[in-house]
């Protein structure tokens, strides 16, 4: 999922300082799962904004709504009724959401209430970690199902480097496992250590951000 993290409230207050009535829009997708932009977080942020503004003698009215998703245009539509009465929108979906709001409401200012951090998953309650950098041509099948692009500080395809020590990466002061140690252990478990001797010559980076803005098309689904 997409991992998001709430922006400092002071930053959001600054963004909306000129407005008296804003929509706070959440998303029931990824950001609900990572407790950053779901229904509860909408209610928390809206209350915080109202409290802060009221204490400053500059009342703010908030309209709360949590979309099914904010990355599909049809799920932005239910905001129409609220947005017509509001001066601005704060979206706490991942940063796709504010951009979909912007597309639907060309004359309404839209602000992000979250920082979009990574594509990842939960390690434990309250801890999320990055697992994929969306390079667009996944190669983890060659590495025991583990991603050296995301999880090796140097993105080595023929690791480990000389900084790997006792299973730990030289980056992170001993807090980050060396992914190449994990790949080695995994390949050993699978009886595929010999595959690690195959030299990987290159990776196709044209599918990553280096190749420019990416669009994914499924012809059979297009109408």
């Amino acid at each position: 999922m997409v991992i998001g993290e709430a922006k400092p409230v002071a930053e959001i207050l600054e963004m909306i300082k000129d407005f008296k009535k804003v929509v706070v829009a959440g998303c029931k997708g990824c950001v609900t799962v990572c407790n950053a932009g779901g229904e509860k977080e909408v209610a928390i942020l809206a209350s915080e904004l109202r409290i802060a503004r009221k204490a400053a003698g500059n009342d703010l009215e908030t309209l709360e709504y949590t979309c099914e998703r904010q990355c599909d245009p049809e799920y932005i539509e239910p905001l129409d009724d609220l947005v017509k009465d509001a001066e601005a929108i704060v979206s706490i979906a991942c940063s796709v959401g504010p951009q979909y709001c912007t597309a639907r409401y060309p004359f309404v200012p839209v602000f992000p209430g979250l920082n979009t951090m990574s594509i990842g998953g939960a390690l434990e309650h309250g801890v999320w970690k990055e697992f994929c950098q969306a390079c667009g041509s996944c190669i983890i099948g060659d590495f025991g199902g583990l991603c050296p692009i995301t999880r090796c500080a140097k993105q080595l395809l023929n690791g480990p480097c000389g900084g790997s020590s006792e299973g730990l990466c030289e980056v992170g002061k001993g807090s980050i496992p060396c992914i190449w140690q994990l790949i080695y252990d995994r390949m050993k478990n699978l009886g595929q250590l010999h595959k690690m001797q195959e030299v990987k010559l290159y990776k196709n980076w044209s599918t990553s951000r280096d190749g420019g803005l990416r669009t994914t098309i499924r012809e059979e689904l297009k109408q």
Partner: protein, 143 residues
Amino acid sequence: MSMEVVVFACQQAVPEPDAVKSLWRGGEVRLRVLPEPCSSKMEAFQLLRTLATPVDLVWVIGCEEQLCRYNEGSHRAGGRMAYTKKYLAEIGLEPARVGRSVLTPGDESALAAIIAEISDRVQALGASPLRRAPNTAARRSAK
């Protein structure tokens, strides 16, 4: 300036919410006691929403953690209280405007002590800055 306290009380910890009112010595300060099935029913957003209405002090009364009917409930309520205080600190409202107490269900003297603490707290804090702040919109329309 009139003040108001809202107490969310677990029904096990405080089986008779009216008893809280009879113990109240807060004078002019209005007290509302809302029974809850467990103190863990209270989410951070509900505490914040209540403070935003505005209310001058919000308090949650639950059972001692090891006595919670729902095992983890009272413990969770404690965690939520801690991060509600963090939210308040972030926006510059006194974290002391939310509080939580636990007691053994049926312990009347403990309940009396908690009610006294709530009363002392609201007197010490005074009216919420949300009441004190003049609303610029209201000022404008008054012109």
